[in-house]
Amino acid sequence: MATAAGTFPQAHEESTIWTWLTTVDHKKIGAMYGVTGFAFFLLAGFEALLIRTQLAVPNGTVVDAERFNQLFSMHALTMIFLAIMPLGASFFNFFLPLMIGARDVAFPRLNALSYWVFLGGALLLTSSFVFGGAPDGGWFAYAPLSAEEFSPGTGLDFYVVGLLLLGTSSLIASLNFAVTVINMRAPGMSMMRLPVFIWMMLVVNFLLILSLPVITVALIQLLFDRNFTTNFFTPSEGGDPILWQHLFWVFAHPEVYVLILPSMGIVSEVLPVFAKKPLFGYSAMVFAGVAIAVLGFAVWSHHMFTTGLDTVPQIVFSASTMAIAVPTGIKIFNWMGTLYGGSIQFNTAMYFAVSFIALFTIGGLSGVMHASPPVDSQQQDSYFIVAHIHYVLFGGAIVGIFSGIYYWFPKLTGRFLDETMGKVHFWTMFIGMNLTFFPMHFLGLSGMPRRIYTYDADLGWETWNMVATIGAYVLAFSVLVFLVNFFTTMRKAPDAPDNPWDAPTLEWATTSPPPEHDFDVIPVVRDRDPLWYDRDNGIEKPEVPAGLHIHLPPPSYFPLLMGGGSLLLGVGVLSHLALTALGVVIIVYSVWGWALEPTD
């Protein structure tokens, strides 16, 4: 329970492990997502370093083919599901209620549950390395390679169960957030006054809600093919491997927008603050984001141009893919319009935000190239695609996330990350990223395929591979700089004011970090940039009424218990069904306990 009485008390409750295990506070859950996501980011980066080291020279001997296949599969799976998505979820968890003027999300215990199920799925998937080998069929696990006959180990079963758990976690979180945004906004916070970051995350939530079920069906079918004698994807029995590809990509294409939209939202928040200008073309930004999502459901077969599609589908999907460049371009021009004529402060957050625009645009340009089927027939499965992916996902998503980290660090922790180290981090990351991924355009165009663990010396690929590997180590160094910055900063005492950047959005109306109850008084919103409006119109912060008692939802261990039950359910599918039965019992018990426990 927390009370407020005139002043703004810092929340200094004793944080034990049990506090964290039973928390339903969105800020703590956001912190857990953030730390876990970043840890897996480091793991996936390490996997990438191994890949690059193996490919630095022709016929490398760092890892064998089997291990290499596991590495690139897990690198992608870890980056996508265990790093980028949780980091986005971390920001959204922490800031959603604050930015819309609420005190928590719609279903706090469900929020905690989604974290624990995520952690279970993440650990299960990663543990595959020590339980017979990680999945090695790529993150897309194409049939018929994924069949038991050709992948007889357990790697792909870990893939199926792991992704089912992770998908469940994301679905639960997305449902919760969608209800929160729709139904829990502060008075005056109409939909078209929502911060663009919130709009982008709302769109992301709907993308997940509508696409996750499709891959769930695909995963179930793969599980059944591998373990229950069905033949959904076995051609000789009447099945069709292309069905897997369609179902997978109907999910996985919207998924890539899930990966990029949060960072686009973050950049849309950061640029106005450090250009001291409102975002250019707010309505267009919102509609463009929605358009990207809607179109994102209509382009999936552009991943399948080389599978023998008929002419008409090829044309349709090519056209829809190129069409997505339009709303994307609108966003890019609007970001530039925000900067133009602004009074720009070049701090680290701003460096990352501006470079996001450039790097993502490069990735977008290569993407439009392979939207053309004949061009794609050259580029598919080559390093040109790898270049595209990493420009949009590293130069886009990751760079945007770092921008958000530097921007929001004072609000999250009460401290400022060091600017000098931040600039070193930025420049080494920028140089490293381009050094690693730009040469891959050349490698792809000169014919280097993806997912090969070695290459011969006389193919002309050595130079660029070596450059890319050097770049990867520069990238690793840059992350090290960030980690040093982080740890040295956290050892300082918190001293940040409420709104050090003079930013416009509501989260900056609280202390840094916010008290447990977020707002002493729920704000009334009069403008799209509430704090700038209040500042420019001399509107004071609301008086805190005397004797104010704010009731917060009490902690609960049922989300943790239910998360454990679902992990057990998954483990049982991979080993003994008795464990699954036990997991189900624990889940049912948890649901009952949850429904009956008092929340006031």
Binding site: P213, Q221, G238
Partner: protein
Amino acid sequence: MAAAEAAHGEHHASAGVDNRMLLMWIFLASECLFFGSLISTYLIFKGESLVRPLPEDVFDIPLTSASTFVLLMSSFTMVLAVYGAQHARPQMMKAALLATIIGGLVFLGFQVFEFKTFADEGLTLSTNQFGASFFVLTGFHGTHVGVGVLYLSSILFGSMRRNGLGKDGGTHVEIVGLYWHFVDIVWIVIFTVVYLIP
């Protein structure tokens, strides 16, 4: 979920609806994609089986019509349960909930019988694409019915406690009703697309 989460202090529900109702409706939208993918798979493999039995060899349309009718009746008792909950008639609500649960169980009984009969006639998951896609589709629908029966039973048991379902009781029953009706309309689609359409 028994929750006062939506009623914190002077909280404003900007769209003006109950959080839990909104949650269930959005969840049902998600379920449309789930069953849509399963039905798509069934339709894609229609006519692609390499061996018999095919639908015409095993389907017993009159029997399945009976089970369809049972599920339809359970939807009817479900609306009565919601009506009873919302009009302060707890006996009506409890009786109707019980009838709905029984309807669900009878439907499941029909499903189990049908699955066993088909297996005896040579149709299993591994036999052909019809078997695989049929059993996975109707099996997952049946699982949803089973979860619904458990959910309904929980609400019924909850209503038999001293405080009943609390002041939000009507909403709880309404929400389980949404889930149950959805399971019914999915069956309407499956019955037509899988059983009736040649």
